[in-house]
Amino acid sequence: MGLTSGSPDTGAGAVVQGGAEPEGAPQGGVFSAQPSFLTTRLDAVVNWARQNSLWPMPFGTACCAIEMMATAAARYDLARFGMERMSFSPRQADLLICAGRVSYKMAPVLRRIWEQMPSPKWAISMGACASSGGVFDVYSMVQGIDTIIPVDVYVPGCPPRPEGLIYGILMIQEKIRQSAPTSQDEWNAVDALPEAGSHLPTGVVNHLSAPFGNSTNQNRASGLVSTGAVVRVSDRRP
């Protein structure tokens, strides 16, 4: 095996043949824990291939889905990023773009679609509703899909402009550029979500879903407090 990894202080470019491995380290080779010139080059190649040929899974539910369609159409072309092949089957997709509000009725569907996607996979939460619940802080809406699936990039907006979505996609590409796909850890990583329930603990889900912002306790629209000296007939308790 000529491609053993070099020790850290030999730096890039040094290939030590038959060099001593640190005790307890996994066997040398391309997938060893120690980065080297060859593995970083391989990483770069793999990352380049992945980022420029992402097959998005458009999980479009509402208005953001229309903006996603517009992003894929002629003016804000997604094909220049290699993403024109929208995969409607999760089995063949690697980027889930959740565009639109997700209700609790839809949540298990989203979860299942995410679980059906093979690794490596990334998720973009497009729009305010997918990121945090948006304007819909109500009984039926998931307050951010990150309580259901792990999200990589959040694109704010209601709906985000196509340029905004493209910026989010570029951030995903940046994230892919910085990943180490051939490292042992990555190779062995298993991204399993718990069998039932959210992948986040209860307290975190409640904290993420709680109403937030400066204005929450200061205006009547939050439905949390009735403000003002005059309590009108129409100020309903939340």
């Binding site: 509402a62 229309i66 159409a73 002629a74 304007v135 039926s140 629209a221």
Partner: protein, 428 residues
């Protein structure tokens, strides 16, 4: 024992003198439906389409019982996008509800904005200015074209015609530009307010609209040459998804779905608002109630909307866009910045909200999808007691099983597309 009705496709097609296809009727086989032994028929399949599916136009779930390719039963499931707009509206002021209306029918947001404002203005007894009326008519007709273009693109792509999708989306980008110039947003326009609009039309907007109309009609003609006399299109849409006039009325269908069955009901003609009775336009009414007739109705509606827009542009009067009523309208920015009393007035209108009298109003407009009704109930406060949206798609989709039971699986997608549904207004 299972009864089966067998259809013969393209029986006795009608040809033009040049040999091109004019009409291809799809007729059931002559004679009675015959019974089939179970062991020959085989088992029925229960399959699930959606809620995540490219061709359901949103998060709609259809459970189909199939006998081979024939749909024996269809059960639609909705509610995957239920965002409780109506409950949320009870916690929002009358003007704060306007942004919510964009997000229901996101394909024609200005129609929803206008319909809501009109319902509340009816409740309050406010009559908007002449200029505002014409501007709202322009907004509604422009969004009718906008919505029909999306319908056309997505229906065509569902049936395999990809080019039409690209053409229509290119035209829609121009309407997005118009939306953005007027309201600041491409889709979620939120442009009306109680008593007027958020702002007047910017200079040059009308010119841009006219340019759009001039360039749009040739594109529409081009799309017609691609579809209207196309044998594949005719074969897939004629005779498919038929619903009779009596059934359509009983199911509560509205809009082009109802008119394609031969029922002449258009709110712009039957309960006209904003001087629609003074505009010169026709309402296309079909005959067979199949997908092809719905397609023809919507194509013609787009042309009629172009004509309406040209008339509206011509008659657009000057004058204020907002009603001169300090109880509902904010003072101008200049006044509010320079004048303490106006600033306090501004503060009171924004912080305490506009108040409506005790009462209620059920008002409907002809939206691109059908009869869009808004029911607002007030108890004298700044927020509604009840805000109900009669979304036309909710009632239209309920008729889907009636239309496709007995049809083939590929017709399910075609009929679903032809109903022009938007899940935002179905699930609300």
């Amino acid at each position: 024992m299972l009864k089966r009705v067998v259809y013969n496709v393209l029986r006795n097609p009608e040809l033009a003198p040049g040999g091109s296809l004019v009409h291809a009727p799809v007729v059931p086989v002559q004679g009675e439906a015959y019974e089939v032994h179970e062991d020959i028929a085989g088992e029925h399949m229960l399959i699930n389409i959606g809620p995540q599916h490219p061709a359901t136009h949103g998060v709609l779930r259809l459970v189909l019982e199939l006998d081979g390719e024939t749909v024996v039963r269809c059960i639609p499931h909705i509610g995957y996008l239920h965002s409780s707009f109506e409950k949320l509206g009870e916690y929002r002021d009358w003007n704060q509800i306007v942004p919510l209306t964009d997000r229901m029918d996101y394909l024609a947001p200005l129609i929803y904005n206008c319909a809501y404002a009109m319902a509340v203005e009816k409740l309050m007894g406010i009559e908007v200015t002449e200029r505002c009326k014409v501007v709202r008519v322009i907004c509604m007709e422009m969004d009718r074209i906008f919505s029909h273009l999306l319908w056309l693109g997505t229906t065509a792509i569902d049936l395999g015609a990809f080019t039409v999708f690209l053409y229509t989306f290119q035209q829609r980008e121009k309407v997005y530009d118009l939306h953005e110039r007027f309201t600041g947003a491409r889709i979620t326009t939120s442009s009306t307010r109680i008593g007027g609009m958020m702002a007047d039309l910017p200079p040059g907007w009308i010119g841009q609209l006219q340019e759009f109309l001039d360039n749009f009609v040739p594109v529409l003609d081009e799309v017609e040459t691609l579809l209207t006399n196309n044998a594949i299109w005719i074969g897939r849409t004629q005779g498919v998804g038929e619903i009779s006039a009596a059934d359509a009325v009983n199911f509560g269908l509205s809009g082009p779905n109802l008119r394609a069955s031969g029922v002449d009901y258009d709110i712009r003609k039957d309960r006209p608002y904003y001087d629609y009775e003074t505009y010169d336009f026709d309402v296309p009414v079909g005959e067979h109630g199949d997908i092809y007739d719905r397609y023809l109705c919507r194509m013609e509606e787009m042309r009629q909307s172009v004509s309406l827009l040209r008339q509206a542009i011509e008659r657009l009067p000057g004058g204020p866009i907002n009603v001169d009523d300090p109880r509902v309208i904010l003072p101008t920015k200049t006044a509010a910045m320079n004048d303490m009393e106006s600033m306090i007035h501004h503060f009171k209108v924004v912080m305490e909200g506009v108040r409506a009298p005790v009462g209620e109003s059920w008002f409907s407009v002809e939206s691109s999808k059908g009869e869009l009704g808004m029911y607002v109930v007030s108890d004298g406060g700044a927020k509604p007691v009840r805000w109900r949206v009669r979304g036309p798609s909710f009632i239209n989709i309920a008729a889907l099983p009636h239309m496709i039971e007995g049809a083939l699986l590929s017709d399910v997608i075609a009929v679903n597309a032809s109903l022009d549904i938007v899940l935002g207004e179905i699930d609300r």
